[in-house]
């Protein structure tokens, strides 16, 4: 597809003039800006402000916040049910400065949960609101396509609502699964062909279903259908206790070895909620191990992308897996597991670096020493390959404005030239003490995204190197791996927090609301892949089928995280 500049121009392109920011006063300014729209102000942990608005004022409020206050990133929509009301929370951020957050809380009537859709403001709200409808049961007026997203069309009830009876059998017969498009005249009397790509298809990286309409070799329309791996992660986390029972689940969101990055997302949110201070030594270990995970994850991303473009289990795929094996070996030494690490604990990590420490450091350094050569090999085989460039440069274009509107983060956003990285912009762990760079590429195409991942591997290696130095020189009597955390955590009732970390795929955020018990009342996962995957139709429509596959590969989605 040609990178037509007109295509990218849009209303939100002008959303650059930001209010002058001053700490603390910001919330008041916003309140002033919104004026009568605000019914009540709320204090959410971390969010500078939480404004309660009327269900019919959602679009107006969000437009104001987006265009006049510069909140161009709708990172998440959380829906939940209270005893007396339903509530949708729009978590807004700025791409320029993710530390500035504002939550727009939209309470709706219990009997008829209905509010205005935010889709015209933020494209990403499309799927988020569908999910809210699907799981909680809030309906959104004005929504272009409000139907179930994660559960089958035939599902009865909304599983995260309070009156849902889980034991009622859901009889979904094969007949009812019969193709709902049967009546659709997509193929009669036209040149187009309706083709299902997935859920069992080698290119979909799991169980994604792409409803594709082809015109010859070109994709006329693509509609990603997700939910084939919806494992009720949020329900699982809402049933688990803060202290121990939740931590194993994050490993399975983004299962491509990014386990520790996910664990950190939960750890960060929960530590915030319970006011736990993590010792520096543990932070360094966390930083190091998380970056190892990032390398492993990016290696697989590059490998499978090569698989999509090359078409077979070729050398580049195998070499990528080889590097992954090495990273996994180091992680296995550290955590005792190859994939499902379960290594972080609230307030630190579960154990120290294994004895003999020298051996571990040596192994880690061996891996790092081999890495430049390996990445060079990838550049030789992949990025400098002319056919590869032919295939990837200027295909799967994702203009920055579109990416922002869809809430794209991580390498996908950075490949579109959006300079955003929570490790730097909203520092956590030990990142702000270390010397590394955020990689961005302006290509906006498949090639740029692959390049970002490859470069990020090098940056991660730099971080690990520095962490290893720190750990080696750390005084022996100061190696505190866990803060003192009470055995049972019971945060105060009605405290809420939304916290995000930079996972391998982008902004992985956790919203937790506590109700005073030892399990969360609402546990919402903001998955980067969920938002990133939404951009697929922007990237692929009008392109060739091969580019659709390549674009999907370059998004590097993992269905465990998309569907949760």
């Amino acid at each position: 597809m040609s990178a037509d500049p007109d295509r990218t121009a849009g209303a939100d392109a002008g959303a650059t003039e930001t209010l002058p920011v001053t700490e603390g006063v910001e919330a008041d300014r916003l309140a002033e800006l919104l004026g009568d729209l605000v019914r009540r102000r709320d204090e959410h942990l971390n969010a500078d402000a939480a404004f309660e608005v009327h269900p019919d004022d959602v679009q107006e409020t969000l437009f104001t916040l987006r265009d006049e206050a510069g909140f161009d990133h709708c990172s998440c929509v959380t829906a939940q049910e209270y005893d007396d009301r339903f509530e949708s929370i729009y978590h807004l951020k700025k791409y320029d400065d993710p530390t500035q957050e504002v939550s727009v809380v939209v309470p709706t009537d219990k009997a008829d949960p209905r509010s205005e859709s935010a889709e015209p403001v933020y494209r990403t709200a499309d799927w988020h609101e569908r999910e809210a409808y699907d799981l909680v049961g809030i309906e959104y007026d004005d929504h272009p396509d409000l139907r179930r997203i994660l559960l089958p069309e035939t599902w009865q009830g909304h599983p995260l609502s309070k009156d849902y009876d889980q034991d009622r059998p859901q009889v979904v017969t094969l007949q009812e699964h019969a193709n709902p498009l049967e009546e659709d005249h997509k193929d009669s009397e036209s040149d187009t062909m309706f083709l299902n790509i997935g859920p069992h298809h080698p290119a979909t990286h799991g169980v994604l279903h792409l409803k594709t309409t082809l015109d010859g070799e070109q994709v006329a329309d693509v509609d990603p259908d997700i939910g084939y791996l919806h494992r009720c992660e949020e329900q699982m986390c809402q049933q688990g206790t803060y202290r121990h029972q939740i931590m194993p689940y994050p490993d399975r969101w983004d299962y491509i070895s990014a386990g520790l990055l996910n664990e950190w997302a939960y750890a960060r949110a929960a530590e915030d909620l319970a006011d736990i201070e993590v010792p520096d030594y543990a932070q360094v270990i966390r930083t190091m191990s998380a970056e190892l995970c990032r390398i492993a994850s990016h290696m697989l991303a590059v490998g499978t992308f090569a698989l999509d473009v090359y078409g077979d289990f070729t050398a580049i795929f195998m070499y990528a897996i080889r590097e992954r094996e090495k990273a996994q070996k180091v992680l296995e030494d550290l955590t005792g597991q190859r994939m499902m690490f379960n290594y972080f604990r609230l307030g630190g990590v579960v154990w120290d670096i294994p004895e003999p420490r020298d051996e571990f450091f040596e192994r880690a350094r061996d891996f790092l020493d081999g890495l430049p050569q390996a990445t060079q090999e990838f550049h030789d085989l992949l990025t400098t390959n002319e056919i590869f460039q032919l295939r990837c440069v200027d295909t799967g274009i994702l203009p920055p404005e579109t990416a922002k509107s869809y809430g794209a983060t991580g390498p996908v956003a950075r490949g579109s030239g959006i300079d955003v990285d929570l490790r730097r912009d909203d520092p956590y762990g030990y990142y702000d003490e270390l010397d590394w760079d955020v990689i961005t590429q302006d290509g906006c195409d498949n090639y740029a995204r692959v390049l970002v991942r490859l470069r990020e591997v090098e940056e991660s290696a730099k971080i690990i190197e520095q962490c290893l130095d720190l750990l080696e020189d750390w005084p022996e009597d100061d190696r505190e791996i866990q803060a003192n955390v009470p055995r049972t955590l019971k945060p105060d009732p009605d405290t809420e927090t939304y916290r995000a970390v930079e996972a391998a795929k982008g902004e992985l955020g956790i919203y937790i609301r506590s109700d005073g018990t030892d399990t969360p009342a609402r546990f919402k996962i903001r998955s980067p892949c969920f938002s990133n995957l939404q951009t697929l139709s922007e990237m692929a429509e009008g392109e060739y089928i091969a580019d659709l596959v390549a674009a999907l590969g370059s998004l590097d989605i993992v269905l465990g995280e998309v569907d949760r």
């Binding site: 010859g216 070799e217 922007e538 429509e541």
Partner: protein, 142 residues
Amino acid sequence: MSHVSHWLAIGALAVIAVLIPMGMMLVSWLLRPSVPERDKRATYESGEVPTGTTRIRFNIQYYMVALLFVVFDVETVLIFPWTVIYRSALDAGASLTQVLAPMLAFIGILVVALVWAWRKGAVEWARSPRAEREAGDMAGRR
């Protein structure tokens, strides 16, 4: 060896080329189980039930290529006899222009045809107007 025997041998190979696959089919017929199940015969489409048939009016691009091929293939066949006698004609004393010029003219016409097809965009994979429109719509919505 006579002409006949050449083609006899080729015919013999044709027989063998059919017999070998047939033999394999026979072996397979002997060896394979048969468990007829209704759903086993369903057309595979990534685990979904296919919508619509495959017998549809299909994008014209494939036929364009085929048409072009027919034109060029017939022309290439005409080049064959020329290449065969080219050297012997030269050896027999024909001048270079005499043997080369007609074929150059012929290939020249072919090249002109190719250039024409090229300019017309026939050798490019046509972008489907419908797909373009959809892409445009997406962009327009922004």
